[in-house]
Symmetry: C2
Subunit: 307 residues, 2 copies
């Protein structure tokens, strides 16, 4: 059994909510840890609509301080408070987000029921910002009009699956089984291998990663950060005919998202952050696919597995 690793899209539109599309937000489930990435206005309403238990969210990641990526955050914090949350909430985001939160709590005279920890992200360099039992999260710089980071969520090697038939052959002590599942040979006190992990466990699997890039101008410098990701979310605000407008606003076109996916050698590309000018998104998809066939439109309420 592999650990759960999937992303549910809560918002796919840029700038202004329109065509029934909400602003950027995604819920990542990794090994039953729930991570929220960005939090546009109405994110808590989307979470409820899709029957996602938002009390399970312990980590929130905000890419940058344009409102379409965080205007839903205070509402979510407030609902956690009103729902009598007690456990720690950790928010990762650009410097300044702490001031935005603090000012609003102060003016509403709110003392949260739960501890809130704020961790500022570094918009200049890749950094490991969270390490838990089953996963790590890195932030890395994106080029946008204001300081902005992407996020890379990476599973850690979990326990190895053991080969049932081999276990049946020999009666292994519990201690040996624990070692083998952790991927270590079991040895005696002199260091002689009694049970070798290669004999008893299936091979290591590839470490899966999810890379999230929004918002960004077309920027091949991000490729080392996202290379080989199993799933890449890359903004595709504009169609190819708006390449000039994309550059001017520090956004990307569909083809540019496809190019980044291809050059980074990812497995699949998820598009999003669509401009309000597009009601029909099929040209966006087609333009990305022309560069990178494994392109998909992100759609609200849909869960994308990362395998």
């Amino acid at each position: 059994m592999r650990l759960d690793f999937q992303v549910t899209v809560l918002g796919s539109n840029s700038a202004i909510p329109s065509h029934g599309r909400n602003q950027t937000s995604q819920l990542v489930n990794i090994a039953n840890n729930f991570l929220l990435i960005d939090c546009g206005e109405g994110t808590q309403i989307q979470l409820r609509k899709f029957k996602l238990k938002f009390s399970k969210i312990d980590f929130i990641f905000i890419s940058h301080l344009h409102g379409d990526h965080y205007f839903g955050l205070m509402g979510l914090i407030s609902s956690f408070h009103l729902n009598k949350r007690r456990k720690l909430l950790t928010i990762f985001g650009p410097n300044g987000l702490d001031e935005i939160i603090t000012v609003q709590l102060r003016h509403s005279n709110t003392r949260l029921n739960f501890p809130l920890r704020f961790v500022p992200t570094n918009p200049e360099n890749k950094a490991l910002i969270l390490e838990e039992k089953d996963f790590k999260v890195f932030s890395f710089p994106l080029k946008h009009r204001i300081p902005c980071t992407g996020f890379l969520i990476q599973e850690k090697h979990g326990l190895r699956n053991l080969i049932k038939e081999k276990l049946m052959e020999s009666k292994l002590p519990i201690e040996a089984i624990r070692h083998l599942r952790e991927g270590k040979d079991f040895t005696d006190e002199e260091g002689n291998v009694l049970y070798a992990v290669e004999d008893y466990a299936y091979p290591k699997r590839k470490i899966r990663t999810y890379a999230f890039c929004s918002d960004t101008i077309y920027d091949p410098q991000i490729i080392p950060y996202i290379a080989g990701a199993d799933l890449l979310y890359h903004e595709a605000t504009f169609g190819n005919d708006e390449e000039h407008r994309a550059a001017e606003t520090f956004h990307s076109t569909a083809a540019q998202a496809g190019k980044i996916a291809k050059e980074a050698g990812v497995s699949r590309l998820l598009l999003g952050h669509y401009s309000t000018r597009y009601l029909d998104l099929s040209p966006i998809l087609d333009q990305a696919k022309a560069e990178f066939p494994e392109s998909y439109l992100s759609e609200e309420g849909i869960t994308y597995s990362i395998d």
Copy 2:
């Protein structure tokens, strides 16, 4: 023809959006002036859903700084900006709202395309805060956990309707007609009345008022501010069985809203700010009606005329 005067409810729930109900917000149309009162999260989405042209909004009134009354404001301001608004927006609200707005504009590095004027409300005394050609707005103190005001929107006497038959009888100069419509007698240079307004115009009509009270503990001291209103919106967060909880949280029950309406001699009462604990609102309505028969549940998307 009377001037338009109506209120469209955009949100009716308290604290947390639930049961498909949004947080407090109302759009008032008075003589084709559009006033937004309170602005819970998702208000801009509600405006779009009900096909209300939000570019027409020139005045926003925020009662207090609990998030369910203003978390949608930044999103709305941001959408005005992105939609290339140029005209003045005036926001009335408690001290501190200016800081909340300014901090967020600063961190997103936004210079708005349009002038934004902030007018702090006075939570201690009734005050005239806006006077336009066709209407006035007053704020008045409400008793809540943090500084909070209600708002009273009052039409001014518009032009008088003239009696057609009387006009046909005598050929009045244009100047005289203008005077009569403005409710003034038309005189010669010595001050002799040539055409008396009582002879040529229909009687003055009652000045219509809409009073908005949210959030507030049961407080008969507000009665002088809202006495005789044609329509009173008064919060009814709780059912009568939660009177203790209502007092504790500085909110009102349905019966208390009804009592205020009765004692203030208003024509109609609109209930709202329902607690998330109520899926079925009919007990709230029944309890208010037991005190004041002309009680109505506010429902999102419904427009209530003020006559």
